[in-house]
Amino acid sequence: MTSIKVELKQHQAEKLREVCRSFGNQEGELINVLHKAQGIFGYLPAEVQEMVAEELNVPVARVYGVVTFYSFFSMIPKGRNPISICTGTACYVRGAEKVLDEFRKQLSIGIGETTPDGKFSINCLRCVGACGLAPVVMIGEKTYGRVAPDEVKAILKEYEND
């Protein structure tokens, strides 16, 4: 397990409490609360889980149990340039996996991981509805279409100074 130490800023903490309150601080709403929390923070660091545990009055071990059970939840922050690779059928058929492998190789990280400098992270997406452009890669807001593995290096270079 990787743990990234963050102090929750005052306003973030307040926002999180607000989320818990909106679910009536109910133990049974744990998954929904975590879902919302991940929406706010992008991931679920230990501090967020602890606060949720306190607000909903459940043991933090149980919160951690839920976070580690569902692959949707992540304890690792996304990179400043989150790379999303579509692995929907069309993209898959047109070689998305090779593109994914190339990103992993270039960055030396796996799916769901973030580079140590926090610059990039890799995630897979289900069909993004741009099948005409398959295989599709998104980095932050920017979309790249018909990506070939040998273009990956050049794409990453665009972010050199980020």
Partner: protein, 590 residues
Amino acid sequence: MNTINLTIDKKPVSVPAGTTVLEAARSLGIQIPTLCYLGLHDLNIENKPAGCRICVVEVEGRRNLAPACATDCAEGMVVSTHNIRVLNARRTVMELILSDHPFECLTCAKNGTCDLQSMAQELGIREIHYQGEKSTYRKDTSPSIIRDVDKCILCRRCEMMCNDFQTVGALSGVNRGFQAVVAPAFEMNLEYSSCTYCGQCVAVCPTAALTEVDHTGKVLRALADPGKTVIVQTAPAVRAALGEAFGMEPGTLVTGKMVSALRELGFDHVFDTDFAADLTIMEEGTELLGRLTRFLEGDKQVRLPILTSCCPAWVNFFETYFADMKDIPSTARSPQQMFGSIAKTWFAERIGVNREDLVVVSIMPCLAKKYECQREEFSVDGNPDVDYALTTRELANLIKQANLDLKQLPDSDFDQPMGESTGAAVIFGTTGGVIEAAVRTAYEIHTGKSLNRVDFKELRGLENIRSATVDFNGFPLRIGIAHGLGNARKLLEEIREGKSEYHAIEIMACPGGCIGGGGQPLHHGDSSILKARQKAIYTEDELKVIRKSHENPAIQELYASFLGQPLSEKAHHLLHTHYFEKKKRKVSIG
């Protein structure tokens, strides 16, 4: 209609609605094997995740085999518990569990007492037809407990005890699939979690995934060191359970044989924690009376109810969850620590031995005591008042290693002066006992009258939370008793909300009190064993000539020659403590 008729292995049986097939079979004397299931029904403790499927049976008309532990009986059901289909299924389940289990039985801490091992034996497993990767995980050692997750079979009994019974929630199932383990939050070490070291997870773990830290080697080395004087104290609950490790009936009292065994092992003085339990009553009882007197004089500041403080897991619990109320518990140290403190001052001086050359060993039913004796405030210049706390199970191992058969040893008496004790001290071993002992003494001191009956039956039993009112010369003293930290939590929350009606509350972390401690011979889910131990404790009380702590002559002498009065300055220094707020351990792990 509330009665259900069914047939199990061709035998007809009628059971109340809601009975499981497992229970119905047991009522017929048919023992369906179980692994994940655990039921301590006298204590309302049950683990029923229906996870392991070792208990499957065939129900006529159903396609799939049914887990007996989680299947309710239905009218007209026809059940087979051991036909070939069932036996094969059970064997497959077992082989699958074993295919991801380290084969270390010969050197395992649970060798001979492991449920998985005995199940493999019962099912006649000779070969494992499944080969696969084995999951591995780091070992985690805390002051009391070792986690060896490789031996975990994910029965979740520990999780149930820690979450449902204790409401501590230190352990939870985390990750999934092949990576699934039972672990503290963020998979931190137990030591940094909210664990109280009550040891109830260890008490129910069927394998050696959870065991106590073994200090027998250290004790053997101390015994072999000619430069050391090694003395031992034994807690009250030990004598009511030790015999079980030697095949004796649960509830057999082995006090005298245990003393002989300890002498054979080479301890220089064999003493009794009961001596210190009497001392605890003097201090705690006086504290109770002090608060009560101030209360009766109209002092609004006085903190009532007073809470007992002799269970270290309970102390850990309130330091973690109720630190805002840390002025409520008695400040009296536990009997184990009072013993150590007096042994390394008064007794050491009496026999002319330096503190550093005196080794104090305690035999406890308890895992929290291992942690307690390492607490910094219970040491002087780095030398602990109690050097090593062994469990009842560890003592049994030492006795076996010394080639002694407990059953055949003669009875002998504790040494003096720290072996002298009363019936009041013995009952510390069961839920309700500490407060009964306190009442016996406080009543006589408060009223100046002598009790014509010392048995307060209204304080006894195994119900989770009990309450009783004792007439203190016209003043109705209201007493609450809880065992199990979840039950304690309820009483504590009442206090926090200002709704508590009690003047005094006794709390023990373990089911039944120390008789059900995490260091006792394993009960394997049979609560009649706890009942038998409880009965033994009350029998020992009745057999004692002196049954009130303040009448213990050795205690009287200790006060006359050394301590002065209860709550004197010296007594405060040696016998009392203060509590700390344990942070609800914020993650500071990396």
